[in-house]
C-alpha cells in the first residue's frame, strides 16, 4: 500500500523516507551531428540535451568586437506533464535567464573570442538546451549540458578576403572554442527551513520550501548565488551550501575532463 500512501499524503510520505534515502546518479554524453557541438547530460532521471549551432552575423553596434551567445532552455511537454505545449513558460524562461546569467557572470567564453572582423562579422552561438526527462534540478543539468556542449564545439575557420571584402569559410578546418572558466552549478532544496538536500528530484522540489543554486568556477569564486525566494536561510547556512558546492565542483570537473578525454582520441 506504499503507492497508495504516496498519492494521498505526499508530504508525510517524504518526511518518513528522507532519513534513509540515497539516490542513484548516472551520466553519459551523446552527440548530434547536425549541431556544431552537443551534449546529453543525465542527473539521476533528469535528462537534458544541449545542441549548439554557430551562425554568422554582424556584431551589435554598441559592442563591435563581440560575438553573441544565445542560450535558451526549453521544457517541452514531452519531459513532464507539468508543462504545457506551446511557447516556453515561466520556469523555462527563468532557466534561460539563469543560464544567460551564468555565461555572463562567469565569462566562461570571452565574447571577444567570437568576433571575426571588428564591427563586421562575428559568431552567434545558439545554445538550445532541451529537457527530455524532467525529474528536478533542471538548472544544474542545463548548466552542465551547456558546458559539456561548448567543450566540443568545433567552429570552421573564417577569413575575410581582403580584395572582395567578403568572408570565406573553410569548412574543412575546424577549431575548438576557448573555454576560459568551467562554471558548475549546484542546487539545493531547502526542506522544513533547515534541511538541505543536494541535487533534488522533481518530487523533492515540489515538497521543498525553497531552492538555492550556487555556481562556482575553477578558482572557487562565486559566479552566481541564485536563491529565488522560498524559506529564509542564515548566512551560515548559505556558507554551508557554498562549501558543499565547491567540493562538488571538483568532482564534476573531474568527470567532464574524463569524458572529454574519452571522446578526444576518436
Amino acid at each position: 500500500m506504499a503507492t497508495a500512501f504516496k498519492t494521498v499524503e505526499p508530504l508525510e510520505y517524504y518526511r518518513r523516507f528522507l532519513k534513509e534515502n540515497c539516490r542513484p546518479d548516472g551520466r553519459e554524453l551523446g552527440s548530434i551531428t547536425t549541431a556544431d557541438g552537443s551534449a546529453l547530460v543525465k542527473l539521476g532521471n533528469t535528462t537534458v540535451i544541449c545542441g549548439i549551432k554557430a551562425e554568422l552575423a554582424a556584431p551589435a553596434v554598441d559592442s563591435a568586437n563581440k560575438g553573441y551567445i544565445v542560450p535558451n532552455v526549453e521544457l517541452p511537454s514531452l519531459c513532464s506533464t507539468r508543462f504545457r505545449s506551446g511557447p516556453p513558460g515561466e520556469e523555462a524562461q527563468a532557466a534561460s535567464q539563469f543560464i544567460a546569467d551564468v555565461i555572463e557572470n562567469s565569462q566562461m567564453i570571452a565574447k571577444e573570442d567570437l568576433c571575426i572582423a571588428n564591427g563586421k562579422l562575428a559568431w552567434v552561438l545558439y545554445c538550445d538546451i532541451i529537457c527530455l526527462d524532467y525529474d528536478g534540478n533542471i538548472l544544474d543539468a542545463s548548466a552542465f549540458a551547456l558546458l559539456a556542449a561548448l567543450k566540443n564545439v568545433q567552429l570552421p575557420s573564417v577569413t575575410i578576403n581582403e580584395e572582395t571584402g567578403l568572408s570565406e569559410v573553410n569548412l574543412k578546418q575546424k577549431n575548438p572554442l576557448i573555454i576560459r572558466k568551467h562554471p558548475v552549478a549546484t542546487s539545493f532544496a531547502i526542506f522544513d527551513d533547515t534541511l538541505l538536500i543536494v541535487d533534488p528530484t522533481a518530487e523533492e522540489e515540489d515538497l521543498a520550501t525553497g531552492t538555492v543554486t550556487i555556481v562556482t568556477d575553477d578558482e572557487d569564486r562565486l559566479c552566481s548565488v541564485h536563491k529565488p525566494g522560498g524559506s529564509p536561510l542564515t548566512g551560515a547556512k548559505l556558507q554551508d551550501c557554498i562549501t558543499r558546492a565547491i567540493t562538488r565542483h571538483k568532482e564534476v570537473k573531474k568527470l567532464i575532463d574524463k569524458v572529454i578525454k574519452s571522446i578526444k582520441p576518436k
Binding site: 500500500m1 503507492t3 497508495a4 498519492t7 494521498v8 506533464t81
Partner: protein, 195 residues
Amino acid sequence: MAPPARYCVPGERLCSAEEATAGSGTYTRHGFIFSSLAGCLEKRSEDSGLPVVSVVRDAESQLLPDVGAVVTCKVCSINSRFAKVHILYVGSTPLKSTFRGTIRREDIRATEKDKVEVYKSFRPGDIVLAKVISLGDAQSNYLLSTAENELGVVVARSEAGVQMVPISWCEMQCPRTHTKDFRKVARVQPQFLQT
C-alpha cells in the same frame, strides 16, 4: 512455478476465438483474439466453458472511472448544491492523474434526501469513498454518489489538524479538542481496513 511468461504487443494474434474467451487487454476480430496491450499473456481456465485469455500489465494499468466503480476521492470545494471532488483511485488502483467529479446534494444520502446539507456532509480536504453513477454529459464531469452505508467520508481532519474519529453515521470527533463535526460517515468494510 509457471512456464516462462509470454509477453505480447498490441496486434499480436493470441488464439482463435473458438478456443478461448477474450478477457481484458484483448479484442476480437475476424474470429481471432488479439492483444491490445503490451504486457504479459495470461490464460485462466474456468471450470465451465472456455479459458479466459487476457493480457495484463503490473498494477499500473491505464484505468478510467467507470459507471458503478467505487472510487476514492478528495473533496476540493463545496457549495450548497454539490461538492466538487478529485478522483484519486478507482477501486484500489491509484490513478496517474486526477479526474474531477461532482457529488450532488441529492446523491449524498439514500434517505431523507431533501434534508441533506452539503456542508454537514463534506468539508474540503476530506477523503471520500463514492460510486460513479454517470460519466456526465458535455457540460458536466463524472457524477458520483455516496448514498450507501459503505460510502462517504473515511478520512477527515479537524480544525486542529488532527485526524478525526467517527463516532456515529453522521458525526466525527477530534481526539485532541473533542469537538464534534458533522459528516456523511462511511462504514468502512473490515476487509479494507489496514493495520
